[in-house]
Subunit: 312 residues, 2 copies
């Protein structure tokens, strides 16, 4: 039994496909087949049932895979212990972050982070919530930064901050004249929404359904995943949209005049750093977390009374 074989069966379990798992492991498909066979031979048990699509682990196989994950995690811990001992922060960290957060959160801390920890190589991907969860599970990213809670038992959530939603109101709207708005003030028919499957859409809808279960019937359906697009729509075409607080930070004074904050408790989304529970690069993620939190604007980091809008 080798650590590599254990990595291979974990990948195979995660992809349920020899070819795809092989690509993930950076090897050719026959190598994977052979190593899995060798391990099965050594343990005198079949780990995967091949005569079905997709392949599935046997009962014993599933137990072996669980144990393999434990072993690989403990093995990863070795390098961590060395860094801890040296008091160094280095290594690779693959981060997945949702697109409604990335353009506003990353610039706040990223340059500072890579300057402070030059030995850390970051690899950041903008991904949807769904893809982040999938990739955390198959190990192609280490950390997710996204709205929580996710209610996934295998994931560990570390709350970074709560981000308020702010109304972005065209001058033509009735509620433009109000100083502070209430969820009830928002007319779903005047609301620009993010596209289907977008967590911002879910959160916004949650807010509306919080007040009344009105059927939303829009005259114009426009699907976008971009907050900038939503902003532009309100500016050019009127209407209302909800912006996460960080997206309002760098607006010009003129545009900020169109913002309307909610009366306390304001609706908010909880933003967390998520890892799989067996994740071992704790030192890296800890400094990342610290870096993010210390570079948050005061408006966000100071605790306020909020109502969390869940995404599920």
């Amino acid at each position: 039994m080798t650590l590599i074989q254990l990595e291979y069966i974990i990948a195979l379990d995660s992809f349920r496909h020899f070819g795809k798992a092989a690509i993930h492991c950076n090897i050719a498909q026959p190598s994977l087949s052979l190593q899995v066979q060798k391990l099965e031979e050594e343990l005198k048990t079949t780990i995967f049932v091949r005569n079905c699509t997709p392949i599935i682990p046997t009962e014993t196989g599933a137990i072996i895979i669980e144990q393999a994950k434990k072993i690989i995690a403990e093995a990863g811990m070795v390098q961590q212990l060395v860094h801890q001992q040296k008091n160094t922060v280095e290594g690779h960290l693959k981060i997945g972050i949702i697109p409604t957060l990335a353009p506003y959160l990353l610039p706040l801390f990223l340059m500072n982070f890579i300057k402070k920890y030059p030995a850390v190589k970051l690899h950041i991907s903008e991904l949807t919530t769904e893809k982040i969860i999938k990739r955390l599970n198959n190990g192609s990213i280490d950390v997710g930064i996204l709205a929580t809670p996710l209610a996934h038992a295998e994931l560990k959530e570390d709350v970074l901050f709560n981000e308020e939603f702010v109304g972005y109101i065209s001058k033509d709207e009735k509620i433009f004249s109000k100083k502070y708005i209430l969820p009830a003030d928002i007319d779903p028919n005047r609301l620009w929404l993010a596209e289907e499957g977008h967590c911002l859409r879910t959160q916004t809808l949650n807010l509306c359904e919080l007040q009344k279960n009105s059927t939303i019937e829009k005259h114009l359906e426009y699907e976008t995943g971009s907050i900038e697009t939503l902003k532009n729509f309100v500016e050019k075409n009127g209407g209302i949209t909800l912006l996460p607080e960080l997206a309002t930070m760098n607006m010009t004074a003129g545009k900020k005049a169109m913002l309307r904050y909610f009366k306390s408790p304001a609706p908010a989304r909880e933003i967390s750093m998520v890892t799989i529970k067996s994740f071992v690069k704790t030192r890296l993620t800890n400094v990342l977390k610290d870096s993010i939190i210390t570079h948050l604007p005061l408006e966000v980091s100071k605790k306020k009374t909020m109502v969390r809008l869940d995404i599920v």
Copy 2:
């Protein structure tokens, strides 16, 4: 990093000597050197300080070795899980047992055990308590069967039974006429003792010192590790010796007439099955334990009031 490299550094830490560790690992010394170097290179840290004799692990090295032991234990668990799943009992088990127990305990269960579990390969060595502890720690035996408690934090003790001591009294002795004896009845000057370092000697001396701190001055000093020799001395030359109960089971009626049991609570030694705490072949050791306990003579297995004589 490979599991083999981890095994090598564990062996090297245990022997503190490249040559000896290499023999233990069944490889040549340069192979071990090379693999340790490779691991140190990969982790970018030195694990062992070589410019001293014997070599010692660095501070970081010691931490890595601890983690390595955890990983190797978890890896050993995989095969165990497979057996558990198949509900089979198989594998190798290396047992160390003290010489004062081996000839009397092993015949009681061994044939039955190998018949019941034909897939288990046993390798049994008669070893002193000291050597058993050493070999448990360096992994050259899996289980020790010996008198406890040992007061070693890294070892797990599983009590099998308590074995009474019985006086073996020559007809010439005054106390031969007594039906039941007391520790105070034993004249240290008439006592045949096992050799220095022998746990039976320590236990016997403990018993004597329990009553009075008399200085033992013998006319004849004879060093033996064998209970049979002690018996023969009493038979041929008179005097007294203390026998562990199991050593009295197969005696002829004539010789049994020389046995004198202690008044309750009788002095006894605690016999346990000892493993290192990280040991994983729990299924094997469990069936071994069961096998031993179920084949004990009734006189031994039935609980009596005893006073434990410790060996330390």
